[in-house]
């Protein structure tokens, strides 16, 4: 197996899914954001976004905190240290895989 094929096979499957990749990329540059922001920026529907977030939380990449903004419930999302590492690794692998 050549290096490029090896890099492709080593891509993190949790992050590689387009919806989750959008979420992780958005969260990687900030401290935290809420559910509404991700809904607005990704264009995903609520159900799909929720399921992607649950998958990312299960992998330990995203920390989900339920809170309130006044009387309105608010879900705060934050990329964990592990999530940051995984995203960095993913980008490196992708770069290698796409390199000519």
């Amino acid at each position: 197996m050549n290096e490029q094929a090896k890099s492709i096979s080593m891509l993190d499957r949790v992050i590689h899914e387009p919806g989750r990749l959008m979420i992780v990329a958005l969260l990687s540059g900030i401290e935290e954001a809420d559910f509404l922001y991700l809904l607005h920026e990704t264009g995903l529907n609520k159900g799909t976004l929720s399921s992607h977030l649950a998958r990312l939380e299960e992998a330990g990449y995203v920390e989900i905190t339920k809170t309130y903004r006044g009387k309105v419930p608010q879900t705060i999302l934050k990329l964990t240290r592990e999530g940051h590492k995984a995203f960095r690794r993913y980008r490196e692998m992708l770069h290698e895989a796409l390199a000519e």
């Binding site: 540059g29 900030i30 935290e32 509404l36 922001y37 920026e41 992708l94």
Partner: protein, 210 residues
């Protein structure tokens, strides 16, 4: 694909001025501060407006009011419409930004003095406004990312109008401040347009079940 990922990583930074509040804040600052200085200079010597202490207190009060007002407006208008974002602000990043801003200000000030000495006294009236226009024009590009076609018209106005105003005969006292006030007005109007468009395009959604 990597470019698309980079775009998503940088997207939250563009979100900072999605509502035009950054522009509005800068605009208000550059309208109010020169006006305060103008009142300070023109007030009678026994007046409360005269004196450096009053000016300093007013400047501090305006800056604090704008900072808290900005936060309150974000909470009131932006977060319920398009979501809440908290940016990373590590101590080193804040310190580095302050150092860079200070260094740039010093370089611009030295360059201004140098150029003023080289040029004729008459043309020196426009050098300050030209430098200020270019600096605030570049900053405008930075904060708005030129995300709409109409912003190019604002940019042209921002770069051309203050130096043009500087050569108009408005009297010596007001001359130094008027281009800065104009920069403030342009920023303010641009921010108001951005805010109006934002509010029209983003109504408050019904409660999101998460």
């Amino acid at each position: 694909m990597t470019t698309q990922i980079d775009d998503y990583v940088k997207r939250p930074m563009r979100y900072q001025n999605i509502d035009g509040l950054e522009e509005l804040g800068i605009g208000l600052l550059w309208i109010i501060l020169p006006l305060l200085e103008f009142f300070n200079k023109t007030a009678a010597s026994g007046s409360i407006w005269h004196g450096r202490t009053t000016l300093f207190v007013c400047v501090a009060a305006v800056t604090v009011a704008l900072l808290y007002g900005h936060k309150a407006l974000k909470k009131r208008f932006t977060f319920p419409r398009t979501g809440y974002v908290k940016y990373r602000q590590t101590r080193t990043r804040v310190l580095a930004s302050l150092l860079v801003a200070g260094a740039v200000a010093i370089v611009v000030a030295i360059a201004t003095v140098f150029v003023l000495r080289l040029l004729e006294p008459r043309s020196s009236q426009t050098v300050g406004p030209v430098l200020a226009s270019v600096a605030w024009g570049l900053f405008y590009i930075f904060i708005t990312r030129m995300d709409a076609a109409w912003r190019w018209a604002v940019l042209v106005l921002l770069v051309a109008a203050p130096p043009a105003l500087a050569v108009l005969p408005l009297g010596r006292l007001w001359l130094g401040n008027s281009p800065i006030v104009l920069i403030g007005v342009i920023y303010f109007v641009s921010g108001a347009i951005t805010l109006a468009l934002y509010l029209r395009q983003n109504p408050v959604p019904k409660q999101v079940v998460e």
